[in-house]
C-alpha cells in the first residue's frame, strides 16, 4: 500500500515538473537583451524614451508563436525574483510591450530607479533559461 502511494507521489511530482517545464521555450542561441538607451548610471531630466535592444532573436507580437522571437517587458523597480513558471506579471511596475514595440516613453518620479528587460514568449512566459537584460540603475532629476 505504502509503495503504491509512494509511486503515485513520484508520478505526480514528475508530472508537475513536466508541466512546469512545458512552458519554458529555449531562447535563441547567443541571444542578448540589452538597453540601447539609457545606460547604467545615467541621470535624466524628466521623461525619456527607453530603447530596447535584442540581438540574435526577433521581436514579434505577443500571441505570435514564431520560432526564435518574443516581445519585451520592462520591469521598473522590481526586486522580487522572476518566476519562470508563471506568465510575466502585468501591473504598474511590469510594463508589457506586446505590440512588438522596441521603445517606449517612460515617465518616473524623481529619484533612483532600476530598469530591467525580460523577453516573453507568445504566452508572456519567460524563456528557459530566462532571457533578461542587466538590471540598470538610473536617476531621475
Amino acid at each position: 500500500m505504502k509503495i503504491i502511494r509512494l509511486v503515485m507521489l513520484c508520478a505526480a511530482l514528475t508530472m508537475l515538473s513536466f508541466a512546469a517545464q512545458a512552458q519554458g521555450k529555449p531562447a535563441g542561441k547567443d541571444a542578448v537583451l540589452y538597453f540601447v538607451w539609457p545606460q547604467n548610471g545615467t541621470t535624466i531630466k524628466g521623461g525619456f524614451w527607453c530603447r530596447f535592444g535584442l540581438r540574435n532573436m526577433g521581436v514579434t507580437h505577443a500571441g505570435d508563436n514564431f520560432q526564435n522571437s518574443g516581445h519585451h517587458h520592462l520591469l521598473v523597480d522590481v526586486n522580487e525574483p522572476l518566476n519562470p513558471n508563471e506568465p510575466i506579471a502585468s501591473d504598474k511596475s511590469h510594463l508589457h510591450f506586446g505590440a512588438g514595440q522596441t521603445e517606449a516613453r517612460i515617465e518616473l518620479p524623481p529619484g533612483k530607479h532600476t530598469l530591467q528587460l525580460v523577453l516573453g514568449d507568445a504566452d508572456h512566459y519567460p524563456f528557459n533559461p530566462p532571457l533578461v537584460s542587466d538590471k540598470i540603475t538610473i536617476t531621475i532629476k
Binding site: 540601447v36 506579471a89 501591473d91 506586446g98 505590440a99 512588438g100 508572456h124
Partner: protein
C-alpha cells in the same frame, strides 16, 4: 535550375552559352550617409575613421547576421543583396536603430545618419558588383529617403507586410530619376507607436482645421447674439443638448449655462437626459475649483424601480433585462443603474488625477464579469475567435480588447439590444456603488471582500475563482475590483486632463492601448480600489484580462 537553363539554351539556339552572367531575384539594400561631404568638411580624418568603424562593427556584421551579402562599399555608402526581403528590411531597421544609439552621445552636427532604400529586383551578379534596373531603383529610394529612415518599394512591401511587425506609411507612387514607371514607396516605421505618431500628426492638422472653422462659426454666432437684445434665451434653453458643445462658454446669460455639467455642479437639466428626478443634491458652487475637496456625493442608488431602499444590496434576483425575446442566446444577467453625478478619480496615483465630476446617464451593467459559458456561446456561433477552456462559471480570461468588442458586437446582433462595453466613467460609477471611499466598503482593506493577491485565501492561484465568489458592492454588482481585469471602451490617457464629463467613453487620442479596470487576482490590494486604472495593448491577450458588458436602455 537545370531545366530552366535547358529551355533557355534551346530557345537561344546557336548563341554562345551565357553562363558567365548569372541573374537572380534579390532584395537589394542601398545605403548612404546623409550629408557626407559636410561631415568630411568638418572633420575629415575623424569622419573617415568613424565611417570605417561603423562599416566594420555594424554594417558588415548586420548584413551577415541577416544572411545577406555585402556587394561593395563606396566612400559613404554600401550595397548589399539578400535572398529574403524580410531579412533585408530587418537588417535596414537594425542598422538604423543602432545608429540612433551611436549618435546619442554626439552633438547633432556630428551625427552620421544613413538613408536606406530596399527594392526587390532581378539583378545581374558579377564578382564585385551587381547591375540592373532593380539596383538603380534601390539607390533612388535611398536618395529620396530621409536621414535615419528606411524606404522600401511596393514589391518589397507586398512580400513583408504580414511578416514583419512594423508600421508602414505609404508615400504613394513616386517618379524617380531615369526610371520610366513610377515606383510605389513605403516608409518603414519600426514600431507601431511611431505609426500612431504620424497618424496623430495628420489628425492634429485636421482637428485644428476643424476647430478653426468652429471658432469662426462660434465667433459669428457670438457677434450675432451680442448684437441682439437677450430675448432669445428661451429658445436656446429649449435645445440644450446641441448648444452646449459649441457655445456654452460664450453664453452671455447665466440662465443658459445649465446644460454644461462640467463647469457647474448644478444638477443636469431635465430635458438634456432622462435623469430621474431624485437626483437633486445641493452642491456648494465652490466645489469645482478645489476638486480634492469635493463633498461626498450621494449618487442616486440604482435599484429595481420598485425598491426605493439604498444601502446593502438585497441581491435583486430577477435578471435586469427580461429574457422575453425568443432568441436562443442566453443573455448575461444585467442590473439597471439609475444615472447620477459622482466624483471620478482620486489623489492616490498620478493617473487618477484630477478628481472630476462626471454625470452618468441611466444604463445597465452585467452583474458578473462575462463567464466562460457566455463566451463559448459566442465562440460556438463563430463570432468569437477562440473557444475557452475552464469551468463554465469562471470568468473568461486571456481576451484582448478587440476580442471583448467582438463579443459585445455578437451579443448586440443576436439580441437586437444595444449591448456594448461600459465606458471607463460608467465602470467607476458602478464600482463605487455610491461611495467615495478608497474601497467600496470603506478606507481600510478588509480580508475576504475581493479576490486579489494577499487579500484572499486563494492567493497565487493559477485561475481566478468563479464569478460571484465574494460579496457584492452596494449596487449589487459582483467582482468590481479584483478577480479579473476588465476592459472598458476608452482609449488610454495618462491622466484625466481633458476627460469628458458626460460619462461617454473617451476615444480620442492614442488608441493602441485601452483602459483596464478592477485589477486581477494576481494584483495586490491597491489595484482593487475603484479609482485604480491601468492600460494594456489593444490587440494583445493576457491571462488575467476579462470584461463585463453594459447595455444602453
Amino acid at each position: 535550375m537545370a531545366e530552366i537553363r535547358n529551355i533557355k539554351s534551346g530557345k537561344l539556339g546557336g548563341e554562345p552559352p551565357r553562363e558567365s552572367m548569372p541573374r537572380r531575384l534579390a532584395a537589394i539594400v542601398a545605403g548612404d550617409i546623409a550629408g557626407y561631404s559636410r561631415l568630411m568638411q568638418i572633420d575629415e580624418e575623424g569622419t573617415h575613421g568613424r565611417v570605417k568603424r561603423i562599416e566594420r562593427d555594424l554594417i558588415e556584421p548586420s548584413i551577415l547576421e541577416h544572411h545577406g551579402k555585402l556587394v561593395k562599399t563606396t566612400g559613404d555608402g554600401f550595397l548589399a543583396i539578400f535572398d529574403s526581403p524580410v531579412e533585408a528590411v530587418r537588417c535596414g531597421i537594425v542598422i538604423q536603430q543602432n545608429m540612433v544609439g551611436r549618435n546619442a552621445s554626439l552633438p547633432k552636427h556630428h551625427w552620421i545618419e544613413y538613408r536606406i532604400g530596399v527594392n526587390l529586383g532581378d539583378v545581374i551578379i558579377e564578382a564585385d558588383d551587381i547591375y540592373g534596373d532593380g539596383v538603380n531603383i534601390a539607390t533612388r529610394l535611398e536618395g529620396i529617403a530621409d536621414p535615419g529612415e528606411v524606404y522600401i518599394s511596393g514589391g518589397i512591401y507586398e512580400q513583408i507586410k504580414h511578416k514583419l511587425v512594423c508600421g508602414y506609411e505609404s508615400l504613394g507612387d513616386r517618379k524617380v530619376k531615369n526610371i520610366t514607371d513610377p515606383v510605389r514607396v513605403y516608409r518603414v516605421l519600426p514600431d507601431a507607436a511611431a505609426y500612431g505618431r504620424t497618424r496623430k500628426r495628420r489628425e492634429t492638422v485636421l482637428i485644428s482645421l476643424l476647430s478653426l472653422t468652429l471658432l469662426i462659426i462660434a465667433g459669428g454666432v457670438l457677434w450675432y447674439l451680442l448684437g441682439q437684445p437677450s430675448t432669445r434665451v428661451a429658445d436656446r434653453a429649449s435645445a440644450p443638448a446641441s448648444s452646449q458643445t459649441g457655445s456654452s462658454q460664450t453664453q452671455p446669460n447665466p440662465a443658459a449655462t445649465q446644460a454644461a455639467p462640467s463647469s457647474q455642479t448644478a444638477p443636469p437639466a431635465a430635458p438634456a437626459t432622462q435623469q430621474a428626478a431624485p437626483n437633486v443634491q445641493p452642491v456648494p458652487p465652490a466645489a469645482p475649483t478645489a476638486p480634492q475637496a469635493l463633498p461626498k456625493q450621494q449618487p442616486a442608488v440604482p435599484q429595481q424601480p420598485a425598491e426605493p431602499k439604498a444601502g446593502v444590496a438585497s441581491a435583486p434576483v430577477s435578471p435586469g433585462t427580461p429574457g422575453a425575446q425568443a432568441s436562443a442566446v442566453r443573455e448575461p444577467e444585467m442590473l439597471p443603474l439609475r444615472g447620477g453625478t459622482f466624483a471620478m478619480g482620486s489623489n492616490d496615483e498620478a493617473s487618477e488625477k484630477p478628481v472630476h465630476q462626471v454625470t452618468i446617464k441611466p444604463f445597465a451593467i452585467s452583474k458578473y464579469p462575462i463567464t466562460v459559458r457566455e463566451w463559448n456561446e459566442c465562440a460556438a456561433a463563430k463570432a468569437c475567435t477562440f473557444t475557452a477552456t475552464g469551468k463554465d462559471d469562471a470568468p473568461i480570461t486571456n481576451v484582448s480588447w478587440s476580442d471583448a468588442r467582438q463579443f459585445v458586437a455578437w451579443l448586440a446582433g443576436a439580441t437586437q439590444k444595444r449591448y456594448r462595453l461600459p465606458s471607463e466613467a460608467e465602470w467607476e460609477y458602478a464600482a463605487r456603488g455610491g461611495t467615495q471611499s478608497k474601497y467600496w466598503w470603506g478606507d481600510q482593506l478588509q480580508p475576504g471582500l475581493a479576490n486579489c493577491k494577499n487579500c484572499a485565501d486563494a492567493a497565487g492561484a493559477e485561475q481566478p475563482l468563479k464569478v460571484g465568489s465574494f460579496k457584492p458592492n452596494p449596487f449589487g454588482l459582483y467582482d468590481m475590483g479584483g478577480g479579473v481585469d476588465q476592459w472598458v471602451e476608452d482609449c488610454w490617457h495618462k491622466t484625466y486632463q481633458g476627460a469628458p464629463s458626460d460619462g461617454s467613453p473617451w476615444s480620442a487620442g492614442d488608441c493602441s492601448s485601452h483602459v483596464i479596470r478592477s485589477g486581477s487576482w494576481k494584483n495586490d490590494a491597491t489595484y482593487v480600489r475603484p479609482a485604480n486604472r491601468d492600460s494594456y495593448d489593444t490587440n494583445v491577450r493576457y491571462p488575467t484580462h476579462g470584461f463585463r458588458v453594459a447595455l444602453t436602455p
